[in-house]
């Protein structure tokens, strides 16, 4: 259950950034999570409440932008959508590819007041 570590990491970033801005309250936190980031969204959901309790994010709204994973085939250079890490190129069936999107795990923005 590494999602708890992740959630605590999110709280720490929000706390630091909010203080830096001189504001006191986080109204909204926006996250960007790639489909290959290694985070299970329902697990994050499960630990969220416990992780944010008594913190700056306790009453904040949370928005998650999921980023669809994409690879580029190293044989035929086709960019393609990855549903699984082990998906090969749909045209030439090669498994030689670079993952170009989908491993993001970021705090995108905070709305503070």
């Amino acid at each position: 259950m590494h999602e708890l570590s992740i959630a605590i990491g999110i709280v720490n970033i929000a706390d630091k950034e909010c203080k830096k801005s001189g504001k006191e309250k986080v109204e909204l936190i926006e996250l960007e999570i790639g489909t290959l980031s290694g985070i299970q969204l329902d697990s994050l959901e499960y630990v969220w409440e416990a992780a944010v309790k008594d913190t700056i994010l306790e009453k904040s709204e949370r928005k998650i932008h999921q980023i669809q994973a994409q690879a580029i085939c190293l044989e035929c250079e086709l960019p393609y959508k990855l549903d699984h890490i082990y998906d090969g190129c749909p045209i030439c069936n090669s498994y030689f590819r670079n993952i170009i999107k989908g491993q993001e795990l970021r705090v995108k923005s905070l709305e503070v007041s």
């Binding site: 259950m1 590494h2 708890l4 570590s5 992740i6 605590i8 990491g9 999110i10 709280v11 720490n12 970033i13 706390d15 630091k16 950034e17 801005s21 504001k23 006191e24 309250k25 109204e27 996250l31 290959l36 290694g38 416990a50 992780a51 309790k53 008594d54 913190t55 700056i56 306790e58 699984h84 890490i85 082990y86 090969g88 498994y95 030689f96 795990l105 970021r106 705090v107 995108k108 923005s109 905070l110 709305e111 503070v112 007041s113």
Partner: protein, 263 residues
């Protein structure tokens, strides 16, 4: 105990210690915020910050230290029972005259693994993560301070037996080695792809059992390469020693290359 998430409570707390050493409690970094807030104008701040940034920064600090001292750090990951500790023990026994080893053991509970390493007269620190399912860079930082590894040595970090969570946490290692035993099923790499994607080396253990099992090693490799075409394989048996020579010569080559780069 942290009243917020229960972390650091009772037997869930983290300890880092050498065998037979007094145990120091370890508290983790967890910021809390209390009190009333006043309403002001809303502002949107663009942050674009990696959530794992803190771990990554601490991993970079470890990596810098290892590079400066020419310490070759290896992060050993696998599911429980694949033979991480047995491979480690055999490697240490066979190579301790040729190379300087240091070991960090990660488990939720017990000093059992550290005691096995300690019995070989290899300096070792045990990290008990309590309820934690993986090692993080700050634990390695503290463990390394206790270990005081010499220059030009090998640091073996045995992660918590778990094929999921440790994949996301860089510890500052030079190479990540995933161990899989042939009693586990050929499709593990595609069932738990994150770990295979983030590893450099795949050791296939327990090959002495091959005659008794219906296991297709080529199929396993094919699956693993679908996930990560950079993976290098070693087929070994920590029990009989079969195939261990290839793994040893890889280790020696890595050390020789590192010394060459640093000279």
């Amino acid at each position: 105990m942290c009243g917020t998430c229960g972390c650091g409570s009772g037997d869930g707390s983290i300890t880092i210690a050498k065998p037979k050493q007094e145990i120091k409690q370890y508290s983790h970094d967890h910021e809390h915020h209390h009190g009333e807030h006043h309403h002001h104008h809303k502002t949107v701040i663009d942050i674009e910050k990696d959530i794992l940034q803190q771990n990554n920064v601490e991993a970079a600090r470890n990596r810098g230290y290892f590079e400066a001292k020419n310490i070759f750090a290896i992060n050993l990951v696998s599911s429980p029972g694949s033979g991480k500790t047995s491979i480690l023990e055999r490697t240490l026994k066979d190579l301790k005259e040729d190379l300087d080893f240091y070991v960090i053991e990660g488990d939720q509970q017990t000093f059992n693994d550290a005691n096995r390493i300690d019995a070989l007269d290899i300096p070792v620190v045990q990290i008990n993560t309590g309820k934690g399912c993986h090692l993080e860079s700050n634990m390695i930082y503290d463990a390394v301070k206790q270990l005081q590894p010499k220059d030009n040595s090998i640091l073996m970090i045995e992660n918590v037996g778990n094929l999921v969570c440790p994949s996301m946490f860089d510890l500052g290692e030079k190479k990540r080695v995933v161990i899989l035993s042939i009693t586990e099923g050929e499709d593990k790499p595609i069932k738990y792809p994150d770990m295979f994607l983030s590893s450099d080396i795949c050791i296939i253990n327990k090959i002495d059992l091959l005659p008794h099992l219906n296991f297709d090693i080529e199929k396993l490799k094919e699956y693993a390469l679908r996930v990560n075409h950079h993976l290098e394989f070693f087929e070994v048996s920590a029990t009989t020693g079969q195939g261990m020579e290839n793994w040893y010569s890889w280790l020696k080559t890595q050390m020789a290359e590192a010394e060459l780069n640093n000279s």
